[in-house]
């Protein structure tokens, strides 16, 4: 174990304080000139409006919960389904508010289609990327800032790929019981987890899961992999000799276990659903989870896709537009 390095550094620190500003190399890059300083908006020129105009914020009880992208002149917009649940209003980049209602939802991509109600205006819609253009690793990309006033800048940062299902979790730690006793012993119940809320306790022994007898932790893990967060599971447990049924609504892995992941402690709040996507492109934009559902654009204001999950400090997943367009046109054909 490394000893705490602070005393050694303190050695130098005092010296610097004493001397103030005699050093020529005490310089730092002014904040407006940094990657996500205020300069990028000017650099984009007219394309800044191409990014901001089709963007909206979705609000629930006056609180921003997601971003959205206007996709049809009649006032239809796309957002992230699991983040925009319960949204009542939108705010546009020029601070107008409108009521909205949900029209469609797709579990597979976590997209939702919302419709602006009570406005007959013709809406400026997003310009999707030209199909002949590609966007590879290192391509600059931008998204609107939280209040739809400024622009965030980053790059496409990793390979496009499929994100597999993580499965639902109970949020308990398990241990195989020695063969003389039946069941799997719960050795820890994580606070606030699905298991905690369902009333599972340390030393409960799980005998059956949805009426199937389980003998190893591996069997339980395999079964959980086939379930999603929100699925209901009935456990037969032995608690101090007494058998009882406990119903658990499975939770998200990110909620149950991220509390204990130091990488995520350094990342700020992340999206609840960040798994199980048919295809994503990855970027390094500094976005908040309340900005998911908004668009990711190239420097010329063409939309590459919709930001669908804030994953950690360095990662946002974006659904690329070729995944979105078939779903969207199906929905619009049905509704228009």
């Amino acid at each position: 174990m490394i000893p705490n390095p602070i005393p050694f550094f303190a050695f130098f620190v005092c010296a610097c304080c004493l001397t103030g500003k005699i050093k020529q190399n005490d310089e730092s890059l002014p904040s407006h000139l940094r990657l996500n300083g205020s300069s990028i908006g000017n650099t984009l020129g007219k394309h800044k409006e191409d990014v901001l105009q089709p963007s909206v914020g979705l609000y629930r009880n006056d609180k921003l919960i997601a971003h959205g992208v206007l996709v049809d002149r009649k006032g239809y917009l796309l957002s992230k389904a699991s983040s925009s649940v319960g949204a009542r209003t939108i705010r546009t980049s020029n601070d107008q508010s409108f009521s909205i209602r949900i029209r469609k939802r797709d579990e597979h991509t976590d997209l939702a289609l919302w419709q602006i109600t009570g406005s007959a205006q013709t809406w400026k819609t997003v310009q999707w990327l030209d199909q002949n253009k590609s966007a590879g690793l290192g391509t600059w990309s931008v998204s609107p800032g939280a209040e739809l006033k400024d622009i965030k800048l980053g790059v496409l940062s990793a390979n496009p790929r499929v994100i597999l299902r993580e499965g639902g979790v109970m949020g308990v730690l398990l241990e195989d019981t020695n063969s003389s006793v039946a069941g799997i012993t719960i050795t820890e119940v994580l606070p606030q987890s699905a298991g905690d809320r369902a009333g599972l306790r340390i030393m409960d022994r799980i005998l059956r899961l949805d009426r199937r007898t389980v003998r190893t932790t591996e069997q339980i893990n395999q079964l959980l992999k086939t379930k999603d967060p929100g699925d209901l599971l009935t456990l037969r447990v032995n608690r101090r000799g007494k058998e009882m049924d406990i119903r658990v609504t499975l939770g998200h892995r990110s909620v149950a276990f991220d509390l204990f992941n130091r990488n995520l402690l350094m990342s700020g709040p992340v999206s609840k659903r960040k798994d199980h996507f048919p295809l994503i492109i990855q970027n390094d934009l500094p976005l908040h989870k309340e900005m998911m559902g908004g668009g990711l654009y190239n420097l010329r204001g063409e939309c590459l896709g919709i930001n669908i999950a804030r994953v950690d400090r360095v990662t946002t997943y974006t659904l690329p537009y070729p995944i979105i367009l078939p779903i969207l046109s199906g929905w619009l054909n049905e509704l228009l």
Binding site: F12, A15, C17, G138, P286
Partner: protein, 338 residues
Amino acid sequence: MITSVKTNKPIGHLRYFVLCLFIACSLPAVETEEENSNVSAQRYSFPSSVSELETIQARIQSSLAKVKHTVVSIEAEDGAGSGVLVSSDGLILTAAHVIGESGREMKVVFEDGTEANARSLGGSELSDAGMLQLMDSPKKPFAQIAESSESKVGDWCFALGHPSGFDQERGLVLRVGRIIRKKEETMQTDCRLLGGDSGGPLFSMDGKVIGIHSRISHDPEENFHTTIESFRSNWDYFLNEKLHTFQSMQNGGFLGVFCEESNDGLLVLEVVPDTPADKAGIMAGDVLTRLDDSPLDTREKLTIMVSSKRPGSKVVLDYLRDSFEISIRLELGERDSL
């Protein structure tokens, strides 16, 4: 003046960064933003058009193609970090907190998934520089390292690494940013990093290694890297000696000066009373140039040279006072005696 200090456990938790060891003075928050902008506005600029940004993109993409195969993931029993291959015979630069100690067997995974065995060499916990040697010649492309002083504040740069560990499908993760501060053994950029990136390379626009990822704070703009200058200045020591630790510094020789780097050598900012330096007549304003005939180009080099000798050792110190060259012989003391 230490802000936001957190205790951290680099050994045994390689996966995670050393958190928050941010020294307000060393990377100064002393200047006001206004002063700073006035001085710097002429010297730095932000691309003023989309096509200027696209030029940067093209340079990064072309460098990326050259260097992406030089970046490795480093796996130990207790976590993972990153590193970069810098020679044909298998030398890898990484972070001190990734290797943990000298002589450790570690597994290296290349970007294409091929694996190789390696053994940790030395480095320094002061700058968080570390070296690792592959057991066999890798027959892989290696990266060029930048000259000292080649990178400067305001430069665009890009970071590569394996945040949260190796993932074949995801591949390497790219981050682009600018150098925000650079001083002594540390530089700060807005290339956002995460645990697992530790030890990975920071590249200049033309694809030369200018830094190694070291630590972060909660602020997304506080990403710290060991400078390539630190490696260059202590190259042979890192290659051949055991990892220089804070513990070993406690027990080693002691001089008693606070200095900072300048063009001519190490400018003495303060001399601690009743230390060997004080007794030998060293004064604030002197510039230390050589110790035992070895040029003092970095502060860390002086610290390592002094503290890797026993208390009581005799050394020859050359310094400049008002442009006069002076050479003295002095006996190192004990740090504990402070």
